[in-house]
Amino acid sequence: MVVVQRKELTLAERLYLPEVLRGLSLTFRKFFEKPITRQYPEQPLPTDEVTRGQPRLVVKDDGNIACVSCGMCEVACPAYAITIDGGETDRGIEREPKRFEIDMLRCILCGFCEEACPKDAIFMSNELELADFTRAGLVYDLEKLKRPKSALQERIDYVYRLNNRWRSKQ
């Protein structure tokens, strides 16, 4: 059992008024300190390569989507946020998503999809803002998810570096 011994108060403390004055002087001094609040919309949140923003789909330099709708991210997603319907394409890769939806309201930004993807097709972007007037508007479809590879390059490099470090440990 923990017995907390109450501190014996000095006379000055028991008089209370001196302590009040001490408190007032403290708050008065803090009065002149610089605010640490971030003025959000004007000063956006800092992002970095490690920022796990919303997942986005890579569009390769040749204009084609990198995703082959293998469904790995769909099963990896712990929030059941991803829904994919595949379909055939004439490109060499044969298969591509016809429907790829991420319910951003369900997504918990865990990055499991990024980790699961065997095709380097889905990455956590640095996009953090999410607002809409309807729920349906926050279920992002293929068009809303596509990003050129260059926009995600920083994160892609980071993921590669991370994986290489992990591999070299094996």
Partner: protein, 493 residues
């Protein structure tokens, strides 16, 4: 029965079966690619190798379990380092040329090669040689696509045609690392059993055109059911995606009916199961959503209790009703129809369309009535569509009940029926017939549970693979409700 020892356990084995069956019967896992219990063993892939102790004083041998008959006193071990090593080496050879295609391959998730490589393979390849570059999308007829790169040349597909359909169509062409599977003279595959190739190919080399890239197999929920395309009633598994759509139908092993196979007619009979609903508030133009009653503007959606009351009144005031059910009616539905027929003092009958030309020696019976035998046993009379239409033309009133009953009678013939006929139909879809007064929706045979009895008297089970549309109730319950209403209404009033 022969006594052998598997992994230190004394077991009895059937001497007519290869060793791999004895192992599987004992629940001992031995991988296999070229062996298929329905096909003659050839022992070409060597993945099934197990260690068999030699005679006293002799070293043990590694043998292919699919080609080795069991013999008295055999001592088999599947789990020794030697057995594992042999199999791993064999696997490495198979993977030497197999592409790393799993993300796009339809077989992923149910692929024997993937499973076994995952369990026992090594993480990395050791070869620096390039893989074979072959054709990735070679069409073999209307049903099957061949990806030559993925093929591991197990020859199951070749033997399927020689052993099962008894008409060879495929062969291994070329020698050594140039071998590929091809049809004779590049002719497209034919026959009603091509779909089975996609099932038996242990890898994703042969895939079904209809199912290609439709869904990932681990997302499909599988429901045990029975095929309704002929009176054979093959055991099937109905595979649906997100409880919304049937994506694929595959055979399921049933020694007494279809073994491992099924015909393509049944496999591809998805259209009747994926019919779209009629637009909200409308009766025609798709599946019925609610009961419908004829009003001033033709058939109008109605509350099903009111429609049932109306139907009871109508039938009671027009005695001499015909009761005709669909050959798709389950035993449960047929019994409910029997009670209804009794209440109406009618002879129960079912529509029996003429046999079609799909009959073959393997499975298809050519008879499109999945529950003919069951209905006959219950005392229903078989009625050809033309006879049924003739009887309807002179009847005061009739009840037509069961999935697709209108379609089987023929919409053209039904349209000619006189207006004064009081017609009550229970079907998945209504049609714009002058004589149709009241229509009730029913579930399809993948949306309900029940039983059919096949041509040999075997019971086939139906299970709910998809939820029926919101307001659609089971047919047997609806018929029972109508019967109850009828007994409450004074007859002939």
């Amino acid at each position: 029965m022969t006594k052998i020892q598997i992994n230190g356990r004394e077991v009895e084995a059937d001497p007519k079966q290869p060793l791999i069956r004895a192992c599987h019967d004992q629940g001992v896992d031995v991988p296999m690619y070229c062996y298929h219990p329905g096909l003659a063993p050839v022992g070409s892939c060597r993945i099934c190798q197990v260690e068999v102790a030699g005679a006293p004083g002799q070293p043990s041998r590694v043998v292919a379990a699919c080609r080795t008959p069991v013999s008295e006193g055999m001592v088999v071990s599947t789990d020794t380092p030697k057995a594992h090593d042999t199999r791993r080496e064999c696997l490495e050879f198979l993977l030497k040329n197999h592409p790393l295609d799993c993300p796009i391959c339809d077989k992923a998730g149910e692929c024997d090669l993937q499973d076994y490589a995952f369990n026992e393979g090594q993480g990395k390849g050791r070869s620096s040689e390039p893989r074979r570059k072959l054709e990735k999308r070679k069409s073999l007829g209307d049903v099957i696509v061949l990806d030559e790169e993925r093929c591991i040349l197990c020859s199951r597909c070749v033997r399927f045609f020689t052993d099962v359909t008894k008409k060879a169509q495929l062969t291994v062409e070329g020698l050594g690392s140039h071998s590929v599977i091809n049809t004779y003279m590049d002719k497209p595959l034919e026959g009603n059993y091509q779909g089975n190739l996609a099932d038996i190919c242990p890898v994703g080399a042969l895939t079904s055109k209809k199912f290609r890239f439709q869904a990932r197999v681990w997302n499909l929920s599988k429901t045990l059911s029975t095929c309704g395309e002929c009176s054979r009633g093959c055991s099937i598994s109905v595979e649906s995606l997100r409880a919304k759509q049937v994506k694929r139908i595959r055979p399921r092993y049933n020694a007494a009916v279809n073994q491992w196979w099924m015909c393509d007619t049944g496999r591809h009979a998805l259209a009747p199961l994926t019919r779209a609903l009629a637009p909200e508030g409308e009766v025609l133009g798709g599946r019925l959503r609610t009961a419908a009653v004829r009003g001033y503007n033709g058939l109008e959606c109605s509350d099903d209790v009111a429609a049932l009351d109306l139907a009871a009144d109508m039938l009671a005031s027009h005695p001499g009703t015909l009761v005709i059910v669909s050959p798709f009616a389950t035993q449960e539905e047929a019994k409910a129809a029997l009670a209804l027929a009794q209440a109406l003092k009618a002879t129960p009958q079912f529509v029996s369309p003429a046999p079609n030309a799909l009959k073959d020696d393997l499975l298809h019976t050519g008879d499109p009535c999945p529950n003919r035998r069951g209905l006959l046993e219950l005392g229903f009379g078989a009625l050809a569509p033309a006879d049924a239409l003739a009887a309807l033309a002179v009847a005061p009133s009739a009840v037509l009940a069961g999935e697709r009953v209108l379609e089987l009678l023929g919409h053209a013939g039904l349209a000619l029926l006189p207006k004064k006929l009081r017609l009550v139909a229970f079907d998945v879809e209504a049609s714009d017939l002058a004589s149709l007064d009241i229509a009730f929706p029913v579930p399809t045979h993948v949306e309900k549970s029940g039983h059919w009895i096949n041509v040999d008297g075997r019971v086939g089970v139906l299970n709910v693979a998809l939820p029926p549309p919101a307001l659609v109730r089971r047919l047997d319950l609806q018929l029972a409700a109508l019967t109850a209403k009828l007994s409450a209404v004074p007859q002939g009033s």
